[in-house]
Symmetry: C2
Subunit: 190 residues, 2 copies
């Protein structure tokens, strides 16, 4: 058995998503995911803490993408500029090659309230990280909180649109458009 | 036993919060809450589905307060005006007499991840209701989604401030100030 075969993790993730989609998340076991890929259950658990983590893999890199974008904004940038930079970075993290997986993943999450709660938690960690980054730049609350929550909100709305049927625009472009809506909402010239 | 004594529900809620605060949420049973008030466990369950619901009682009225405010905005109001009206209504729902309970409740929630998830869910239902109200007014997505999520975000930030130590301003006033921060964030004249 090719225990350390490159790509095992990715094959496990794809097989898991396929099973979650066809049988349902609750009805799928880690053993079945492993079997679909031809590895042992133990190998599955070497890659993922549990089957749920297949859907939330990469969360740390995701959070970091926002922080890298925030850090790339020049010193003295306004909160809006910091948020725009974070959104560009996070948007670029989700390239075209991820769209199909993201669509299928979302359908699994939409069918399961516990996974939806986990997803909301993930968004809350992004907002918390952004607030920290903004406070570190000397931006005080409530401006920091508003900017941080707006980052999370704009990204969520843009992401939902990105994975909606027939949508072909890149995520970065959609996020830009949603951020422009925030300006428009607040009565700013866009 | 005064089974239908007026105020039993409120006394149960206060006793529950007191026990959650002193012993911890997990360590408190419905039977203990009932006992503290001098009623049977069965009476407790006539008022609340479970001990968690003591903390989320009134959620429907809470959601309705936003919707009432949104409905009070005149026809043709901008999304921003609808949101401002919803926030005023929801802010007024939390009068000074609720602040102490809200502070103690938040401390219990902050100590328990499952309760935090429930609280995030509650916020998500407000955003969903607001989005529905905005769509019904003929405001399309993504503007409706942005305005709805902003309602929820502004309220959450304002509410956190309202229950912070030493804060004495009414919630409506704090929510106004946070909404002004959204304008400022977006670069609009405030």
């Amino acid at each position: 058995m090719a225990r350390w075969e490159p790509g095992t993790r990715e094959r496990l993730a794809r097989a898991a998503l396929e099973l979650f989609t066809t049988r349902g998340f609750e009805q799928t076991t880690a053993a079945e995911i492993a079997e679909a890929v031809g590895v042992t259950e133990r190998t599955f658990f070497r890659h993922f803490a549990d089957k749920r983590e297949v859907l939330f893999d990469g969360q740390e890199r995701y959070r970091q993408a926002f922080l890298d974008g925030a850090a790339a904004a020049p010193p003295g940038a306004t909160p809006f500029e910091v948020v725009a930079s974070a959104l560009r970075s996070a948007g670029a993290f989700f390239g075209e090659e991820r769209r199909a997986f993201a669509r299928a993943r979302q359908a699994v999450i939409d069918a399961n309230p516990a996974l939806q709660e986990r997803e909301r938690h993930k968004r809350a960690t992004v907002a918390a990280a952004m607030r920290g980054a903004l406070l570190d730049r000397g931006i005080a609350d409530p401006a920091a909180a508003v900017a941080a929550e707006t980052t999370s909100t704009v990204f969520s709305i843009a992401f939902q649109q990105w994975i909606s049927p027939g949508e072909t625009r890149p995520l970065t472009q959609i996020a830009d458009a949603v951020l422009a809506e925030v300006r428009s909402f607040a009565g700013a010239a866009s």
